[in-house]
Each structure stands twice: as structure tokens, then as C-alpha cells.
């Protein structure tokens, strides 16, 4: 569903991503672990079609992102570290607006249901987003992706700054979306959250993918040790 083939991207003389290849299947959650500047956001921006790779190809559900960015974007849901919605609109109004501009038309009942399914209670969806916590805004972000019927979910540091309960809720929401057939790529440096949420993990260092593993085969402590060892090298 998500395919990166030998991607390289440089900014001036700096190589942000080097020969990166990753395949993420339908229903799979892939965690891209790396420190700041490792190339996680660059990779996500290439998949979003906001950056063009110098070499290699990126595909979303078989669509070449560089050649057909508009078609590819239709299949993508994107959650950034801070989901910035319109503070003066309510949760349901935000979702309605993002659906409308995507060409999706839902009535209020359907919009409420989507927000409820993404973990937002009925009593908050009519409150202005300015009063929402970060976790609540992310739930609206996920609802936007869900309403759009996105097949692929790209998350850039989604758990950063979330409280433990919100982080756990985020993990379970992502897992349920994956169960429905979505492919999820989650870039993070939160080892614990990645281990809890993802099926597979890739460790990115200085733009290169230096290791990949199934989360079922490592404990959190082992993963932490592996990660820190790589970072120290």
C-alpha cells in the first residue's frame, strides 16, 4: 500500500534521505524511529507529494506520488505533530469543512458518528476547537482522514506532547483503523509508543534505514537498547 523505492533527497549539500526503501502492506502499522533530523519528516513529505525525491520512487496504493500527486493525496490521511484546525469552529464544523473541500458530503448525524468513532464524545464535538486538548485535536484529525476514506495514514510525531491516556487512545484508534485495512506509517522518536502501536519498526539514522524488525520479536527494553546503541555508533 505504501512503497518507497531507493529514495534519496538532498537539500543543498545535505543528504536528508539516502537510498531509502520501505514497503508497508494493507492493515499494517509501520513505525519509523529516529532522532531529530534523521529524515522522518522528509520521508513523509515525499509521500505527501510536497517534496520531490532526487532519486527513487514513492507509491501510494500503486500510484506514483511524483507523477500523480493529486490522485495519491486523495488516498492519504495525514496527522502532524500538532493538528492545527480552525480554533473558532467547533469539532463538527471543522470536520464538515474538511469533508466539503474534499468533495465528501455528510450530514450532521454522520459527522457526529465519525467523531464519536474516533474517540470524541458527543458533548465536546459542538465546542470550539480552541478549547480542545492536543489529543482531542488529533482525534478530529483522524476523523478527517477517516471521513475522507483514506487508505493510507501518515503520522508525523503524533504522540509528542500527549498524556499517557491520550497516547493509549491514539494507539488503539490506529490499530482499529489498520484492522479495517488501512496502511499506517508513523514517524516518531517515542520508542515506547512505537513499540505499543506498530507491527513493524524501521530505525532511521542520518537518512538511512539501518534496521527493521517485527515488534512482536522485541520487548520495549530490547528495542530501547538497540535504538540507543545505533544512535551512539
Amino acid at each position: 500500500m505504501i512503497s518507497l523505492k531507493n529514495i534519496t533527497k538532498s537539500f543543498g549539500g545535505f543528504e536528508a534521505v539516502k537510498n531509502l526503501s520501505i514497503e508497508i502492506n494493507e492493515g499494517e502499522i509501520y513505525g519509523l524511529l529516529g532522532s531529530n533530523g534523521a529524515g522522518k519528516s522528509t520521508t513523509i513529505n515525499i509521500l505527501l507529494g510536497f517534496l520531490e525525491p532526487d532519486e527513487g520512487e514513492a507509491f501510494i496504493d500503486g500510484i506514483d506520488v511524483t507523477a500523480n500527486e493529486d490522485s495519491a493525496r486523495k488516498k492519504i490521511g495525514y496527522i502532524s505533530e500538532n493538528v492545527n484546525l480552525y480554533h473558532y469552529l467547533t469539532g463538527i464544523e471543522n470536520l464538515n469543512y474538511f469533508c466539503k473541500i474534499a468533495g465528501e458530503d455528510y450530514n450532521d448525524k454522520a459527522l457526529s458518528k465519525i467523531l464519536n468513532n474516533c474517540g470524541l464524545d458527543s458533548d465536546v464535538i459542538n465546542k470550539k476547537v480552541g478549547s480542545y486538548s492536543k489529543g482531542m485535536r488529533q482525534k478530529v484529525g483522524i476523523a478527517i482522514a477517516f471521513a475522507k476514506k483514506a487508505k493510507v495514514l501518515l503520522l508525523d510525531e503524533p504522540a509528542s506532547g500527549l498524556d499517557p491516556l491520550a497516547s493509549t487512545e491514539l494507539s488503539s484508534t490506529l490499530k482499529s483503523l489498520a484492522k479495517k485495512g488501512n496502511a499506517v506509517l508513523m514517524a516518531s522518536h517515542d520508542i515506547f509508543r512505537v513499540r505499543e502501536t506498530c507491527d513493524r519498526i524501521g530505525i532511521l539514522k542520518n537518512g538511512s534505514l539501518i534496521d527493521q524488525m517485527d515488534t512482536s520479536k522485541v520487548t520495549t527494553n530490547e528495542l530501547e537498547k538497540i535504538y540507543i546503541d545505533y544512535m551512539r555508533d
Binding site: 510536497f50 517534496l51 493529486d70 493525496r73 502532524s80 469552529l89
Partner: protein, 467 residues
Amino acid sequence: MIAIIFNEWKILVRNRSIVYVSLIFILSIISLAWMSNLQSESQSKAQAAAEKHIRSQWDNLEPMNPHRAAHYGVYVFKPISILNSLDDGVSSITGNVLKLEGHVQNEIVHSEASQSITISKFGKLKPSIILQYVVPLFLIFLSFGSITNDKETGRMKLIVLQGVSPEKLVLSKSISIWLYGLMLIMFSVLLQSLLGSLALDAGSRLGLTFISYGLYYLIVVCLSTFISVSFRNNTSAISLLLATWIVWTIFLPKIWGNTVEKVHPLPSRQNFIAQMREDRSKGIDGHNPRDERRSKLEKEYLVKYKVDSLSQLPINFDGIVMQADEEYGNQVWDKHFGNNYLIYQKQKKLYQLSGLLNPFSSLQNLSMGFCGSDMIHHLDFLKKAENYRRYLIKTLNDKHAHGGSRTGEWRWTVDNTFFRSVKTFDYQTMLIKNHIGNYLFDILALIAWAIFAGSLMRYKIKRDILL
């Protein structure tokens, strides 16, 4: 696109700061327009009363020599247009009362500025000040905030991922901010229509004013968006925007204005009057002085009436001399005032050129012009008042010459039946449709700027990926 514009408006309406600022704008425009209108109305009433009083005095003149009545003269008043309360242009400094009499062309007096220290120092606060200076500044901030906020927060990415092209998104945002500006100008225009009786010409003028401000606001919004998109550093972007606003509204108009006065200088008031006096007594350019003119005219009339002396003439030769001198004076005035008028025209044309660099100048020219308060309208009044003066004095001199008196009979009088037959000065403001050519360059400059700014914005959005 409509969904985005609608959403932007929803956000504007829900943003309390913007609502408060808008309310302040609207209340300021209402109060200023209302106060200006009250002042205009009271001034118009005072003028009408003064005109009536002066006409009544004229109609009831005691029997007197017509030439004495020419010295008595009449006062005429520059009428105040209802649009004056939107933009008073140069009206407050040009004066509005003119005495018309024989032998001399007086200067228009009683400007508001001459009667108020505040006006001469700071100018008069009119809705046009808010619409020309404050609203564009607010549009700059709105455009800048709208773009940079979406860019910085990453919301732009989220919107683009929903299938909206960056070009369409930025265009929709710019349109929604432009519509906000249009709403304020539309409000001002409608308010003016409500405050005064709207004749066809005033309606056309308001329509043209609306279009001019609309074009200027479009330029401001497109350029603000272009600069906001172009700079990664927001401080640089807002600094450049504010610097542009300052240069456009403060520096360029003054620098260009001073340059225009240096390139096409008007004679000083003292020189102007001295030259007129000299030309009138010694003849234009030193030829044909007064004495020579008189003796030539005397010979002509003696030949014409086949008599040997002035006392034998069946007419009053003094009236003929008086009118001849008046007509000669008119030629002198036409030469000097015509020369000044040409200089004004040259100054205006050169000043209009600044519109290529500064659309604010074009807007100011158009705003004053369409509100009937610019120099062109003022000169039109002076010209028509002078034409009336010529009619008045000729009527009086002709009566003096051909009314039945003989040369030297200065005590000969006419009664007020004659004075009542003299027409009143009835000034009609020029119709804008007949003078639109004077403003064509300013309109074209604004259109060119709007196309240029719009193209810059679209080119930049197409070229830059909005990360």
C-alpha cells in the same frame, strides 16, 4: 472555492478581535459621514441664506449708476457636494466665497483651513482617511495572518491534502479578505446614498468611487499575499509590507508632489498679481498701453458716429471705455490664469504618472475627483464664476453706455427693475460622464496594478510548494 470563502468569513465573524475592529471601522465611518454631512448641510443652508440675502440686496439696490453697481459687485459661493462628506479633497484649503466685481478678478477666500488651526495642521478627518489609510493597513494584516498562519501551523498541508490546490486555496483566501474590504467601502457608499438625495451624477460618482477603492484593495490584498508567500521569514514579510505601505502613503506622494512643483512651478501669488496689474496698465507684454487703447477707441467711435467730439456722441462713451478696459482685463486674466491653468494641467499629468509607481496616488486622485473635491472641480467653479462675472459686468457697462446717458454723465442712474433683470449665478457641478477623460490614466494605472499584483500572486503560488 465558495466553501473556502464561506469558511474564511465564518472565521472572521467568529474572531472577536476582527469583529471589534470592524465595528470600530463602521462606527467611525458612520460618525464621520454623519458629522461631515451635518456640517455640509449647515454650510449649504448658510450659503443658501447668504445667496438669498445677497440677491435680495442686489434686487433692492437704490437707483444708481450701473458702473457703481459693478463696484458694488456680488458674492458667489462654491456649493458643497454631498460626496464632499466622503472625501473633501482640496475643498478645505481652496476657499468657497468669491466676490465678483468690475475691473478685478478677486481670489476665492474663506477656506475652512484658514478658519481652523487644526485643519491646517492635521487635515480634516473624513471617511476617506479611514478607507485610504486604515482599511488597507488592516487588509495587509489580515492577508499576512491568513497565509502565514496556515503555512506555519501546517494547516495548509492538511487543506491541500483534501484535494484543494494551493493556488485555489490562496486565491480563495485573498478573495475573502478582498470581499471584507469591499464590504466596508460598499457600506460607506450606501451610507452616502442614504445621507443625501442621490441624483444620477452622484450615483455614477459613487459607483466609480466604489470601483476605484475595490481595485486598490485588490492590489493591496494580492501584493500582501504575494509577499507573505514569498518570504520564509515572517518578520521580513511583514516589515516589507509595512514599509511598502509607508512609502506608498507617506513618502512617494510627498516626494513626487514636490518634484512636480519643481518641474512645473506656478508663479508666486505676488508675481502673479503684479504681472496682471502691469499687463493691464501697460498693455500685454508692454504693447498697447491703456492711454493708447483709449485714444484709439475714441477715434473709432467718433468715426463710427460721424461726430467731432465725445459730447456729440448719442451714447455714453465712458461705458464703452469701461467695457473695453474690462475686455482687455479679461484678456490679461485669460493669459495669466490660462497659463496657470496649463501649469495645473501639466502638474496633474505629471502627478498622475506616479500612479505607475504608486497606486495610492491614483486612488487619491480618483477618490477626490469622483467626490467632486479635486482641483479640476475647483478650477471648473472658478472658470464658471469668471464667466458669470464677465456677463454681469458687460451687462452693467452696456447699460451705462447704451441706456440713455451721455458721456460724462456719472450721476445718471437706473432703478432696480434693471438690476432685477440681471441673472443670478447658478453653478452646476460638472457632470462626471463629461470629464471622465481627466481620470482615465488613474483608472488605467489601478487596473494595470491589479493585473500585475494578481499575476505576481498566482505566479508565486504556482511556483512555490507551500510547505
